[in-house]
């Protein structure tokens, strides 16, 4: 029998130790699964966790992969703290890419240095616009944002599909579903020569810091923290829930839109039917892996990105099917999410008396 015994205070040590424990547990369970599949477990774990980042190119790719996850998750975390359930970041990402990317297509022979900043603005606006709809429907018509934001994701994806199959199709592209390539002035500059690390990665770091400051120093950050912890109290103090809904959905949408723009004006370089492998959904997990804290999200995003890179290499070098990556990711996430319990509780074995203290 396992029992949980609440700690008087949250364990500071456990805040940092619990993810490590979770990863250790994953290594053990993952190793057993790999062994069962006829792989050397040490090889497999090495392939998943070390091989992807044992050279500078791998590390740079880790940043590229984590960039959209982190940017989106910081925005979402603000909403989740205020109990605003925006699960349509994928749609907001798509709209950001359409708005910002559309500008690059309209000025497809531009050489202006203003193009890229203008695309940033439009990308953020596009995402914010798509986040504003659920905000309006929630505050004005009381419509639940879980449903509206999710449904609008399908609409945005289909709209992008319409554009690249139709009016925005590359006139020189044999009618294949893709836009023109963006002009050079509409492409993100590369920060590290020889890699794909682009300006968006720097923005992601900035977003983390800004998010941290917003939460810890600003009035609205204070409100977000209180609303999340004690919604009743917040209502008594008179924080206006509506303002919170608007703020978090606009911010979350704008950041998702920006992330979408970074994908198309960074590594992709054009609009095409599929621009994101579900970053908007994965970012929800990243937000919680990071315990809704921007700095935590940075680490959460990197770990999540690492599992994707590791999964690719496990397929290439070990021939493990993609399904195993999903399985393994699931298990890792289970442990990481469950390990949070250790910060608030001690685990005790035995019915009443403590037999062994593990935490």
């Amino acid at each position: 029998m396992v029992r949980l015994e609440p700690r008087r205070q949250h364990s500071q040590a456990m805040v940092y130790l619990s993810p490590v424990l979770a990863i250790l547990m994953t290594l053990v369970v993952g190793g057993i699964i790999f062994a069962f599949m006829g792989k050397n477990p040490f090889d497999a774990l090495y392939t998943f966790f070390i091989l992807p980042i044992n050279n500078s190119y791998g590390i740079s790719e880790l940043f590229v992969k984590a960039t959209p996850l982190v940017i989106i998750a910081v925005g979402l975390a603000m909403g989740f703290r205020a109990n605003v359930w925006n699960i349509g970041a994928e749609g907001q990402l798509t709209m950001g890419a359409i708005f910002g990317g559309g500008l690059a297509l309209y000025f497809h022979d531009s050489e202006s240095v203003l193009l890229l900043p203008a695309m940033f603005v439009l990308g953020a606006l596009g995402g914010a616009f798509w986040g504003a709809i659920p905000a309006l429907l929630r505050t004005r018509f009381n419509a639940n944002e879980i449903l509206t934001s999710l449904m609008l994701t399908y609409v945005a994806t289909l709209f992008l599909s319409f554009l690249v199959h139709g009016p925005w199709r590359n006139p020189e592209g044999f009618n294949f579903p893709e836009s023109r390539p963006f002009p050079d002035a509409g492409l993100l500059p590369i920060i590290f020569e020889g890699s794909r690390v682009h300006l968006g990665t720097a923005v992601a770091v900035f977003v983390v810091i800004a998010g941290w400051l917003l939460l810890s120093k600003s009035v609205i950050g204070f409100q977000l923290r209180v609303v999340g912890k004690a919604p009743q109290a917040a209502r008594h103090v008179g924080f206006r829930q509506k303002r919170m809904v608007w703020f978090t959905l606009l911010l979350g949408g704008a950041l998702a839109g920006l992330a979408g723009l970074f994908e198309v004006s960074g590594p992709i370089g054009q609009l095409q039917p599929s621009i994101s492998p579900g970053y908007g959904f994965t970012a929800i997990i990243v937000a919680f892996l990071g315990r809704l804290h921007p700095v935590g999200i940075l680490f959460g995003g990197l770990i999540m990105a690492l599992t994707y890179l590791g999964g690719e290499l496990a397929q290439i070098t070990l021939g493990l099917p993609n399904a195993v990556t999903g399985l393994f990711q699931g298990i890792l996430l289970f442990f990481l999410l469950a390990s949070d319990v250790l910060t608030k509780y001690r685990i005790r074995f035995g019915s009443i008396a403590a037999k062994g203290r593990t935490a």
Partner: protein, 360 residues
């Protein structure tokens, strides 16, 4: 739990494991071929067929070749990394099997001049980057001939994925085949807006049958439309694989993707140093497009289908032989001429007589 389930599950897991062991081991081989798939190999459609081609390399070339693959690679920022990792891990022949991988393949090919790249269904080539695709429209012409003979309602239902040239070309070719034997056939097209959603594909087929179609054609990946045809007692064609198991009473034939020969030949070319950048567009004659056994039809139709297939293989019939007009009545292909490959590649217009509007 049911014992045979356990057994089968274990067998499945073990099979995956065995497959995997066979792949990782080889080191200093002549050919190390890498494959990038857009879908899961378990989709029983496009990626599944490419993977069967990959297995053919291993089966035919034995120890001289090793292969590996990455499945479900998104057509976005990830593709470039996966392709590059293939190149970095010692693969000397890399197949990228979806149109959306074109630009990343081109980019990585530039950075790895000693690695040979092969991109399916695209149009960008380089010294170390070939393109290949299959003339599935030839198979669709044969299917059209069969449909023209077999339909009683003169309405054919066509489940399309997306209005891209590949699919539009297929619809045109199918109808040219149908009209060659029965000028009264009409086609109704429903776009599913997905390559792969069995439920939706099946629903689209049901809608078409409800509107009078008695022949189902599909350009989506799952066997669902054909299954619906079987249930509703109409006829249809399989896609990508022989789907006779799913529709023993409904499948007339299937237009099968067969990459085996091509993949083996390209791997051999790398082994003996004769690999050159080229543009391959293989049809029935090359074996890349295969027609599954003709079933559920009378002998005369079967004979006609076999004859048409043979004539296309020999070049006697070109599905797009002029004169061909588009819906606006404009002469696109002149009398005595055949469509050029470039025209076929970018086809975004319906031929005259198709009573549907192509989304622009």
């Amino acid at each position: 739990m049911n014992a045979s389930l356990v057994k089968r599950t274990l067998a499945a897991v073990a099979a995956v494991g065995a497959l995997a062991t066979g792949m990782g081991a080889a080191q200093a081989e002549d050919v190390k071929a890498g494959f990038i798939y857009v879908g899961p190999i378990g989709d029983h459609g496009w990626s599944y067929r490419h993977d069967i081609g990959r297995q053919a390399i291993e089966a035919e070339l034995g120890d001289a070749a090793s292969t590996s693959y990455v499945e479900s690679v998104p057509e976005g920022a990830d593709a470039e990394r996966v392709i590059r990792q293939m190149a970095q891990t010692g693969h000397n022949l890399i197949f990228t099997t979806s149109f959306g991988f074109m630009n990343p393949t081109e980019k990585v090919a530039k950075q790895f001049p000693n690695v040979k790249f092969e991109h399916a269904t695209g149009y960008k080539r380089a010294d170390n980057l070939s393109t290949y695709a299959a003339r599935f429209y030839e198979g669709r012409y044969v299917a059209g001939v069969i449909a023209g003979k077999m339909t009683k309602s003169n309405i054919v239902g066509y489940v399309g994925s997306f209005p891209i040239p590949e699919v539009v070309r297929g619809i045109n070719s199918f109808m040219l085949g149908a009209w060659s034997v029965n000028p009264d056939v009409q086609v109704k097209v429903v776009w599913a807006n997905t390559w792969y959603d069995p439920g939706k594909e099946g629903d689209a087929a049901k809608a078409l049958i409800d509107q009078g179609a008695d022949i189902m054609v599909q350009h989506t990946d799952s066997p669902a439309p054909l299954q619906v045809a079987e249930n509703r007692g109409v006829l249809g064609f399989g896609q990508a694989s022989d789907m006779i198991k799913f529709a023993p009473k409904a499948q007339l034939t299937a237009i099968v993707d067969n990459w085996d020969k091509y993949y083996v030949s390209r791997a051999k070319a790398v082994m003996d140093g004769t690999w050159e950048s080229q543009d391959t567009w293989g049809g029935i004659d090359s074996g890349m497009v295969e027609l599954a056994p003709y079933t559920n039809m009378p002998d005369d139709v079967k004979a006609l289908a076999e004859e048409t297939e043979a004539k296309i293989a020999s070049g006697e019939i070109h599905p797009f032989a002029g004169p061909i007009y588009d819906q606006a009545g404009e002469l696109r292909i002149k009398e005595g001429e055949d469509a050029t490959d470039e025209m076929l590649l970018g086809m975004d217009w319906y031929i005259k007589g198709i009573d549907a509007e192509l989304p622009k």
